[in-house]
């Protein structure tokens, strides 16, 4: 760990804190070739920035992202704000010659996402988008299995990412319900992860036809503003007024992959009973793979090549040190890793990228492909036609 990189984080919410923890832990757990200095954390709420800085040991607490980007000590800017702010911050960071680590999706609209890509290209610095499920040992191992031909040529990808955090019609309006702050609804929050997985495991998506719907058309206006949301079931005070939801609760698409596979993508933030339900079934000419990330420490595989048809069936594989990344956390199968460990893996990959190692996927330009699928879904849902993503 000869070299140390100065890190600044924008945002102090759940994701901001997860980043802070990951920047602390990743060098210790992975013994990364690049070390970390926690230079500054910024939040429009300065008190929040100060508290988080103290807790995690950042040298400075700042009240604006502009100050953070102006800090010459900071080489890497991590962006964990609501989607609509991603573009401005990233573009400014690139302009200042910084590396950028940005939460997904890229932005609230296509145009600003494209501007981010252009800025990244001009800067020539490095970037990574926080598609953390790609770091999951089970998913990374599924990718390896497919690449190794374990299930032959992929013919079908069936993916779902649904939750129930807005299934209740009484859950208040938040920034997630607005076009100007969030852009997409479930597509941006949930399906973006699903598309990242589909892309990484099965390859580019070339065509989509889609449909979407806002089942809960109006939601109660929260007394404290719509800047925050609650996912833990606790009650939020409301004003008694209702406000129109501006994006989709549920969307789905039929897709075609460049490699010839068919696929479905289903997403919803209003599916009762589902929590972090990122799930897929991938079928190939020689076998299949099943995953439900609510049980992130296991994977199921069926292989045509069984010695005996009488004993063939899905194997439930417990994730262990034979699989990607896991051995950094435990030498024993079955122990299990958790969600926050995914962020630690992601930061370790990012640090190796910065240290000159292989670039982690996806950079901001690479993530544009995921964005185009999401916008293609919206376009098709509106036009009723197949959309070419060429």
């Amino acid at each position: 760990m000869s070299r140390s990189i100065g890190v600044g984080i924008v945002g102090t919410g759940f994701m901001g804190q997860a980043h802070a923890m990951a920047f602390q832990s990743a060098p210790l757990i992975f013994g990364t070739s690049v070390n970390v200095r926690l230079v500054a954390i910024a939040d429009i709420n300065l008190a929040a920035a100060q508290a988080t800085a103290k807790r995690f040991g950042f040298a400075k607490a700042l009240g604006s992202w502009q100050e953070l980007i102006a800090d010459p000590e900071i080489e890497l800017v991590a962006i964990t704000t609501p989607n609509a702010l991603h573009a401005d911050i990233a573009i400014a960071a690139f302009a200042a010659g910084k590396h950028v680590y940005c939460e997904k999706p890229l932005s609230a609209d296509l145009k600003s996402a494209e501007a981010m890509v252009a800025a990244a290209g001009k800067a020539g610095t490095k970037s990574l988008v926080g598609y953390n499920y790609l770091r999951s040992p089970a998913i990374a191992y599924a990718k390896k299995l497919i690449a190794d031909g374990a299930i032959g040529h992929v013919t079908y990808f069936h993916g779902i990412c649904d939750e129930d955090y807005m299934a209740d019609a009484s859950t208040p309006f938040s920034w997630r319900c607005r076009q100007d702050t969030a852009g997409f609804g479930a597509l941006g929050d949930l399906a973006s992860h699903l598309v990242s997985v589909a892309r990484d495991l099965v390859g580019p998506i070339t065509r989509v036809v889609a449909d979407q719907k806002t089942f809960i058309e109006k939601r109660p206006v929260p007394s404290a503003g719509d800047g925050t949301e609650k996912r833990d079931g606790s009650a939020v005070a409301t004003t008694g007024e209702m406000r129109k939801v501006e994006n989709e609760d549920t969307a789905h698409a039929l897709v075609q992959f460049k490699g010839g596979a068919m696929g479905t993508l289903i997403t919803s933030r209003a599916h009762w009973g589902r929590k972090a339900h990122l799930a897929f079934e991938i079928f190939g000419t020689e076998g299949s793979i099943l995953l439900d990330h609510e049980r992130m420490n296991e994977l199921q595989i069926y292989s045509k090549k069984s010695d005996d048809p009488a004993t063939n069936g899905y194997r439930r594989i417990p994730i262990g040190p034979e699989h990607p990344f896991y051995g950094k956390f435990s030498p024993a199968k079955g122990h299990g890793i958790g969600f926050n460990d995914l962020k630690i893996i992601e930061v370790a990959l990012l640090l190796e990228t910065l240290g000159g190692g292989a670039a982690a996927y996806p950079s901001i330009p690479q993530a544009m492909e995921i964005e185009r699928v999401l916008h293609g879904i919206v376009e098709s849902a509106s036009s009723g036609k197949w959309v070419e993503l060429g």
Copy 2:
């Protein structure tokens, strides 16, 4: 059981035998108001008809369905032949004033299916199509739950029916691969069941957009002709030639229901690892229901209305005497019923229909709606456009 009805079955394959067993067992198990006389069984292979007649106690064995329909003792004709023969037999049976019990789907093409409906209308006799999964206690109970409002208003139906019986490229060509004998591929064999369930539980489908593909384009020609197929993994002798498969291995669709729900339908006969995998996830405004018919004796329910969020989660309900039909088979939960029992339930419902009770769903005219969804999928897969189903 004052009245007894004369039954003739056409076909001696797995389904023909399942019908024969069900006609024997249903009156005993259900104590139906109408009894059964096994008058005749017909097969183009007379020896097969004779063996089956002897085994199950049919009075006569016949070498043609025409003879069976001509028999005045027969009041009900059960049709278990390959799809392409359904229409001719059913139409002749209706013309002879018989009741008709026909395996699904209605026919190999839309026109002949419509002719069946017309013949049924003219005859005025009764009919039932063998959508046996509708008889499954778990599925029938899911229907009741939805009707009772247990999950509120349905917003999403996610259905899959896939198997792997033609996943192996070396599996020989059979009648199921031909347009003239089978019509549909996976759509007719598998998705027809799925559509019957979607329709019965969630209501009419009004629009579809779809895609389909034949992944295994050519298959080895079997030495013994393509009249039969093997699903038990035993080898079939082949000639060394290959023949083009004429229908889809895999199809999928986005659908819209009349009641406002969105849905997906996915089907394949080439999905490794799946056996009788008819599965659905139904989401509503107040809860959700999950079912995988490979575990046909259980159902999962999530209800928003829990006393305590900390203990809410999917309930795995073991099917028992509290659920439809099950109590006829066992007084105890957990014992479990099997596939053949579904056919017994179906025949019991049919016998009650014939005895003047409530008509079992779907009659041949009612099943036309299912057929239209399947043909709409094929049409959309060809046109690339949403198809309106009226």
Copy 3:
């Protein structure tokens, strides 16, 4: 089916009816070498006997088992009464030179069970005890796997058979709670099945140490007498009085098998949430097998001999035509069979035994070994010492 055997059934409860159905269906489904004539059914309640005779087509309905045994047309006597009557009926049947098919366990006490064995020996006719779970394809296949060495030498058998049909303290007293009518509690009703499986798969048990308890010491007295029980949750009228339960709700034992394996046996009729929960985990030097009969159509296998540690894990095997008996019911994996089908298999095996084929296990003398394990458990629970079973 040149030969036909005259059958008489004693008892018209759930098991009596299951026998009647099985005697009707087994010859059709299995094409057994011996056919069946349903000569008579007897019940102390003559009206019940008459109704059942009419429903299933028995030639005669009788009001006592003595009349049934006296009938010269009857060659096989099937006993489905409460346990305490088994011995008298079986001994009389043997004395009359009949074959005997008896429900489990053998009797309510050790002495009368021994008398049954002696009578069987003297008669020289054939017998079978209704340990129907041994007929389950999954369990029969587990037996074959073990015999074939698939998991090496067995080191551990962990078995549970528990239900909740008497978990509710308000469930009334019944004949199952009495020493003179039932003998054992959960041990006779449930653990007897478990011991039959342990014995058949792993071999003789030579030593046991055990404990047992009656958690619900008194139960309400039913108004209608204690001859019947209800398992379907419907309410039973009670007198307001309470009666002492005379046998165990729960029992468990550590055991040693002749072959060197260790084992546990756990049983309860008061374990909330469990239905027909016969489950085992069998470990060997080369692998392991898991089964939960609430999901009777699947089996899990882990084998040390995997090509790749990274893909090793439990395989969930769907029961299909490759496994014992299943192919008689369906040519397709995943269809699933049910509890009543187990009785059909059992009767088919019995008919082949009577036709001179291999003797189905266990005959009444063979079942004595199971009985000794159960009595050994009771003895050890009382003495606090290991009991040798010779």
Copy 4:
């Protein structure tokens, strides 16, 4: 975090590193009232101590535990060595007036464990034993459910803790196979956790009867000495000689709890297919709870008190912020935590204990009760008699 405590860790293996990570992360994640200074880490292999010190930021690296205890800056000594060293280190640490955090089990023999307890008593400082599964949100919530009466009075605890890390006869001899270094085999490594859970959830165990066996009697001698073990499947060089295993592969016991419940405890390090399989089923008069820690982020509950018998069944509860500790890691259900997070929770509880908060369970004196159950099992396995633990 006004106060900061000096920490020294003895041992640099998996557990030593897990402790180091946990001491770093716990204050950040939990915002504990007491902060941590990483003063020193000691290992008999000084180079290992130096590397670990550098990686995690300990001020000093030491080559002996004696030096560590002599360090006046160290207030808390964490012991992660093989079992046989626990007593000497702990006793010396107590004598030096330090607090002690010790991995489980207490020691390799009863006498030295008792000496640890005596030393703890004399010192009057605080201690905690690393029974980390007690920190699992699912298990901690199960404890709360039981305490709240959710399943009524507990009648049965059925617990298993088995793995397959020594199932392969070719796995080399290690310190875990010796009486003088490990003491117990599976009992100490695995069953100790199980007993900690049984005790914490159901209360004291008063009687046991048990059996145990060493199935693999001899193991190959590793070339590099038996100080280390491998669990990750990688090959270890061996000398060609074999050495006698001195402790049990498998053990099991029937137990009685003070509160009247019956129980079984089963443990093995030779059960193929099992990984971190700590599992229990707890039955009570009003319901039951199931847990399998291989799926540590879920819990199953069955409650008698259902509104409708037709919809009653086991609820699979995803662990979330409503359950103990989880909210510190994520605001969203379904994200999941991992094994290392349990150690973070444990250290947070320990820090609060040191800060004057409620004492975490179990202290070294409290852990003696767990030890006595394990020794009672060994004694009963030898004597063949029930052992009173009073």
